[in-house]
């Protein structure tokens, strides 16, 4: 079934299964040295990630670990995109180069370099027929012919703006099959260009702040844009006259579900999906695309983790909190009064922070547990498992590694 992969800023990658009610199927814990700027599915179910570390990493979804890393060879990688058949990966690097990698069984293989221009490549998009790549940079974007490797069009985006002195960052780009390039830039504009003529077809200022991300539906009749104010906008390709052939992009619905930057958006056939700096994943179903009313038609916000991050020692009245690189052990406060449900009782003893346990190594903690009697604490990372014994004598607490 359809799956959604998302990467968090700590390097963790999560996979959600649409068929199973958007259940968080897999979690690959993060790594100190790994940041993920871009994720893409290729060659069926293989998941690749690339980040500012300069490596392209394939994720082993059965063992829930990062499998192999291949150096991109162009400095930090800002963007990555797979072609429509999933056989090739294009990466955009800090040095302005766009490199093509072949997806081969068991890994990836460097194929060739495309035309290199100055300026980091912040976003990439393949044409659906795999003949061209659009690459967005600061102040301009360009369209590259894949077979020849040459830049066939270079378009400046900072024209006709009063604040032309400050740079205009093309944060997201999409190349549509009809020869239209859609760019989202830091002036809050979503612009539609005819790349062959190099002309601006339409410009929509969706926000006063930057437009950070965009995604196009499969039918290419709807676009979702995420902005740095936390609002997402839908743009739809609608007929100018009912039943007529002439169509135009129209900004339709605004959604404000996030409190901070919307860094990533995706467009499924029935929903708009967005995620941002407020650590929320929001799935907003499109009512008109859903046939029957039901569970699918509801708005979802993933604010709670699907996995257990807090474990409890019932007898010892201890709680163990799991963070990405450390654990915290707390003793619950207590009260002498009794009351009904929902009442707030006065505490006679405040909750107490007993111990903080830092994990070793660059890997992040995957899971953790405390025993019911409160004397054992354990955690594991992708490669190691640790068990500690907790000694509780009066006020002092000591931990001993087993």
């Amino acid at each position: 079934g359809a799956r959604l992969a998302l990467a968090r800023t700590d390097g963790a990658v999560e996979v959600y299964n649409f068929a199973a009610n958007y259940f968080q199927e897999k979690v690959i814990p993060g790594h100190e040295a790994r940041s993920v700027e871009s994720l893409c599915w290729a060659a069926g179910d293989r998941l690749f990630g690339a980040g500012l570390g300069g490596d392209i990493t394939e994720y082993d979804l059965s063992r829930l670990s990062a499998a192999r890393g291949v150096d991109g060879g162009g400095g930090p990688i800002w963007s990555m995109a797979a072609n429509s058949t999933g056989t090739q990966l294009a990466i955009g690097c800090e040095d302005g180069s766009v490199k093509i990698f072949q997806v081969v069984p068991g890994g990836i293989q460097f194929e060739r370099n495309l035309d290199r221009r100055k300026g980091r490549v912040l976003c990439l998009s393949w044409h659906p027929s795999d003949t061209h790549i659009a690459a967005g940079s600061i102040d301009f974007f360009r369209v590259i012919d894949v077979t020849s490797g040459q830049t066939v069009q270079r378009i400046m985006v900072n024209h006709h703006v009063e604040k032309a002195k400050c740079e205009c960052v093309v944060w997201a780009i999409a190349l549509l099959s009809r020869g239209t390039v859609v760019s989202a830039d830091s002036f809050g504009r979503v612009q539609f260009w005819d790349w062959e003529q190099g002309t601006l077809a339409e410009s929509h200022t969706v926000s006063t702040s930057a437009a950070l991300s965009l995604a196009v539906s499969e039918k290419e009749d709807s676009i979702v844009v995420g902005t740095s104010t936390g609002a997402t906008y839908q743009l739809q390709l609608l007929p100018v006259k009912l039943g007529g052939l002439e169509k135009r992009w129209v900004r339709t619905k605004p959604f404000q579900y996030h409190s901070h930057d919307v860094r990533a958006v995706a467009h499924s056939p029935t929903a708009l999906i967005s995620g941002g700096l407020d650590a929320q994943l929001v799935i907003r179903p499109l009512m008109e695309k859903i046939q029957k009313k039901g569970y699918d038609a509801a708005l979802r916000k993933f604010t709670f983790p699907h996995r257990r991050l807090v474990s409890c020692a019932r007898k010892a009245r201890l709680l163990l909190f799991q963070f990405s690189q450390h654990l915290e052990l707390w003793r619950l406060g207590s009260t002498e009064e009794t009351g009904k449900d929902g009442e707030v009782l006065p505490l006679c003893r405040m909750p107490e922070h007993l111990v903080q346990l830092k994990s070793k190594g660059p890997e992040h903690i995957y899971c953790s547990c405390v025993s019911p009697c409160g004397t054992w604490v354990s955690y594991s990372t992708a490669s190691r498992f640790q068990l500690y014994r907790v000694h509780c004598d009066g006020d002092g607490i000591s931990l001993r590694k087993v």
């Binding site: 809050g188 129209v250 900004r251 619905k253 008109e288």
Partner: protein
């Protein structure tokens, strides 16, 4: 001249302009507005009311240009008729009787011979339907239009709730939270509804709807200030809308520009917002339009738009969102607290205007002369906010001093200010002289000046009465402060009271020697020199509502009206009640130029007018059932010259004219003339030429002509110019005559050249030319007179002429040519 017919009540201003959106004529020179029972034609360039088209028996609810002839106008009214007008001439062409109340009118271009109206549904209250009315092509002027077919059911009653789409392909109606679209060709009806739940201050109720002129897009305004742009509405499910939000309160009206690239919206904020390209980020504002916007309409060429405001003001705005001009008659204020006061200087009517302003309204031109900001505070539109407002106004006899009282709306502890303004001759406006905070401890009930010419400047006294049971006398004193910019200021001189009763009214006798102050049930009379209480009058039960002194021969009488329904007349010499009458007087108004006093009573839902002289208890004139509305205020306005009135009965109208203000703030007057006479001759005739749209060719030609004239002036040839002007009729005639009735070119050539010749030769012999001119002018005068008579003949036989005289000149042309020839010969003979 004067017909002996009955007095007619004539509306002369202040009618609500809010019946329907205004309409620009096709050439943008005229603006048509529904105003009460009339349709008004304004000139866009001069703001003048050019024409008042009356004929409807009830409120006009819709006006629309005839889509097939832009010189014609359809109007609908609550009286159940649709009228077709030629608004250039002000002639009703046809009247279609539909037979039920018409609440709105639409004439989409697509409909061939039918118009759409909103009518109430039979048998159900408060439900309305949109029907199409087939306008029958009959010969007569009054036609029946009974062929109705229902298009939409359950529509809103306001004209803003229905809009026709591009080329009349569909119609949209909004009501509450539901939107329905009906496609005429496909006979498809789509309904969309928004949620009724009011979340986060949102309110999805629709307030207005308009359609994009070239695309299939509907814009709707909502009660919470949102604007929604609907697209794809032929799909039941895949319709979509985007939202624009700036207004904080209800969107009163919307309008698309002709190309549809701009959307204008307005509401109670008095700000016109222009949205570009349906984008929420690109918008322009035109703020401080004075009062809430009720309707917005665009001209057909997109060069102008106009907004109708709730206070009956019309603002015309350029396409670049610049204020162009405003047409303002009587501004409707929330509450006329000041009463109707006459400015002695301009003879203008003075009353509350915009919040905190005093408006000076010229009755002759139905225009606001100016608006004086009294309160001088920013007015903020917000419900529940207590603002200061103007409550009392008084002018001194010569209009040099103006006293105003403003108070905040708080009932318990009013914040009072008395301001005195001096008329500055140089700036031609009133300047603030003295401001007195808290002149009384409670509301001020009345105020009057004493101003005697004979006694000089010292006689100027202002008296105010208050609910704090005192009346105060204010006098001018020399300003001792050397740093003060003015020489005089006002201060309190005397405080009088009577048994701790609230003072309600005050009035000076004509010679200024006596002051009458009413304290609840009692009228007290004071000597204005010594401030001694002279005598008291009382007519229990009931408090005194109005008092006034008689004038001229009746100056020994004091008239008072009580709220218990009595009108009393006291004799000041005998200190006794002269007569009294049982009458519930609402308004008591003495004529400043005669002995007459007008009293308006309100009894069993009709206002009646009584005019009497104080010396006889029998009224001179009675008119029962003056109008349906309650009359709140009245004023006598002195006429510029006494009118000739033959009838003995109406002699009291000779020197002054009586005006009334009703509770709907319509200004009415009494007129002895019939309707036709009231219309000024200038407004009867609009030059047809003027109404023709300016073509690029004519602009070019005009420029050329002007240039020529300019050159002539530069060369210093005034005579030549004169002659050219004289000759120009021949040329103009030549150019304006249709080609098929022109004689042969060889015949015309000599005339044309002759006309040119005269001017050249005349220059050499100026003296002779003068004589000739005299003669020719005479001849012209004669021929002009002849022309008029002949023209009339021509009009009647115009059709035949066209058929017969293919190579003959029309008579007027002949005349013209003959005239030229005449001058020609006279010149030769003189030479």
């Amino acid at each position: 001249m004067v017909s002996p017919g009955a007095l007619r009540v004539v509306r002369c201003g202040g009618s609500a302009l809010r019946g329907a959106r205004a309409v620009f004529s096709a050439d943008c020179k005229y603006l048509l507005c529904a105003s009460g029972d009339f349709v008004k034609v304004y000139s866009v360039s001069t703001e003048e009311t050019l024409r008042l088209m009356g004929g409807h028996a009830d409120l006009v609810t819709g006006i629309q240009l005839n889509p097939h002839n832009h010189m014609q106008l359809y109007s609908s009214s609550l009286d159940g008729t649709i009228k077709l007008w030629d608004f250039m001439d002000g002639i009703p062409i046809k009247t279609f009787t539909v037979g039920c109340e018409l609440l709105a009118l639409y004439t989409p271009a697509g409909a061939e011979d039918s118009v759409f109206v909103v009518i109430p549904k039979k048998g159900e209250r408060d439900t309305f339907q949109l029907v199409s009315v087939k306008l029958t092509k009959g010969a007569g002027q009054d036609l029946e239009a009974k062929e109705l077919s229902v298009v939409l059911d359950g529509v809103g009653a306001s004209m803003k709730h229905i809009a026709f789409g591009r080329e009349g392909a569909y119609v949209v109606s909004v009501k509450d939270v539901n939107l329905q679209v009906y496609f005429f060709k496909r006979k498809l009806l789509n309904r969309f509804s928004l949620s009724t739940v009011k979340t986060k201050g949102g309110d999805n109720h629709f307030s207005c709807v308009v359609c994009h002129p070239t695309e299939d897009c509907i814009a709707t305004g909502h009660a919470d200030g949102k604007i929604r742009l609907w697209r794809n509405f032929h799909h039941k499910k895949e319709y979509t809308y985007s939202t624009l939000h700036w207004h904080h309160d209800i969107v009163m009206d919307l309008a698309f520009s002709m190309e549809g690239t701009r959307l204008l919206s307005g509401g109670v904020e008095s700000v016109l917002v222009q949205w570009h390209n349906e984008s929420s980020c690109q918008k322009d504002f035109l703020p401080r339009l004075g009062s809430p916007i009720e309707y917005i309409s665009m001209s057909s060429d997109g060069a102008l738009c106009c907004t109708l405001h709730t206070d009956n003001r019309i603002t015309i705005i350029n396409s670049n969102l610049r204020f162009s001009r405003s047409i303002q008659g009587l501004i409707k204020s929330r509450d006329v607290k000041t009463g109707l006061v006459v400015d002695p200087r301009t003879k203008a009517l003075v009353l509350n205007g915009e919040p905190g302003h005093l408006q000076f309204y010229s009755l002759q031109s139905d225009q606001q002369l100016f608006s004086l900001d009294i309160v001088q505070r920013q007015y903020i539109h917000q419900a529940g906010l207590q603002q200061s407002d103007l409550v009392k106004v008084a002018f001194s006899a010569q209009g040099t001093w103006l006293a105003t009282v403003e108070e905040s709306e708080e009932v318990t502890d009013p914040e009072l200010q008395l301001k005195l303004w001096f008329y500055h001759e140089e700036t031609q406006s009133f300047q603030l002289n003295t401001r007195i905070n808290t002149p009384h401890d409670n509301h001020i009930t009345d105020m009057c000046f004493r101003d005697m010419d004979e006694l000089g400047g010292d006689s100027l006294i202002l008296v105010t009465t208050g609910r704090d049971c005192v009346f105060k006398v204010w006098v001018m004193v020399e300003d001792t402060d050397p740093e003060a910019q003015q020489s005089v200021s006002w201060s309190c001189d005397f405080v009088g009271s009577y048994h701790n009763y609230q003072a309600t009214n005050c009035c000076f006798s004509e010679d200024g020697s006596l002051l009458a102050v009413s304290f609840e049930e009692t009228v007290t009379v004071w000597d204005s020199l010594t401030w001694d209480l002279k005598c008291t009058f009382c007519h229990p039960p009931g408090n005194i509502r109005n008092i006034c002194f008689g004038r001229l021969t009746c100056s020994k009488y004091l008239i008072g009206a009580t709220d218990y329904g009595f009108l009393c007349c006291w004799n000041l010499l005998t200190c006794a009640l002269e007569w009294s009458a049982h009458l519930n007087v609402v308004v008591l108004q003495p004529d400043p130029l005669s002995e007459h006093i007008a009293a308006v009573s309100w009894l069993s839902k009709e206002s009646s007018l009584f005019v009497f002289k104080p010396n006889e208890p029998r009224p001179i004139y009675i008119q029962r059932n003056l109008c349906k509305e309650k009359i709140l205020l009245a004023a006598f306005i002195p006429r510029d010259q006494p009118e000739m009135i033959s009838s003995e009965k109406y002699l009291w109208l000779r020197k002054s004219q009586l005006f009334f203000l009703t509770d709907t703030q319509e200004l009415m007057t009494l007129s002895t003339k019939s309707l036709e006479e009231r219309l000024t001759p200038s407004s009867k005739q609009l030059a047809v030429e003027e109404s023709l749209p300016v073509t690029p060719f004519s602009v070019l030609l005009g420029k050329h002509r002007r240039q020529q004239a300019q050159e002539d002036i530069d060369l210093g040839k005034p005579v030549v110019r004169k002659k050219q002007e004289q000759a120009s009729p021949a040329v103009r005639e030549l150019l304006h005559t249709p080609a098929h009735v022109l004689p042969s070119a060889s015949f015309l050539c000599t005339i044309f050249i002759n006309s040119l010749l005269i001017s050249k030769e005349n220059k050499s012999a100026e003296e002779v030319a003068d004589e000739v001119e005299m003669e020719s002018e005479k001849a012209e005068d004669d021929s002009d007179e002849e022309d008029v008579t002949e023209m009339e003949q021509e009009d009647t036989s115009h059709m035949e002429l066209l058929g017969e005289t293919t190579c003959k000149l029309s008579k007027s042309q002949e005349k013209e040519l003959r005239k030229i020839r005449k001058t020609d010969y006279s010149w030769i003979s003189a030479f």
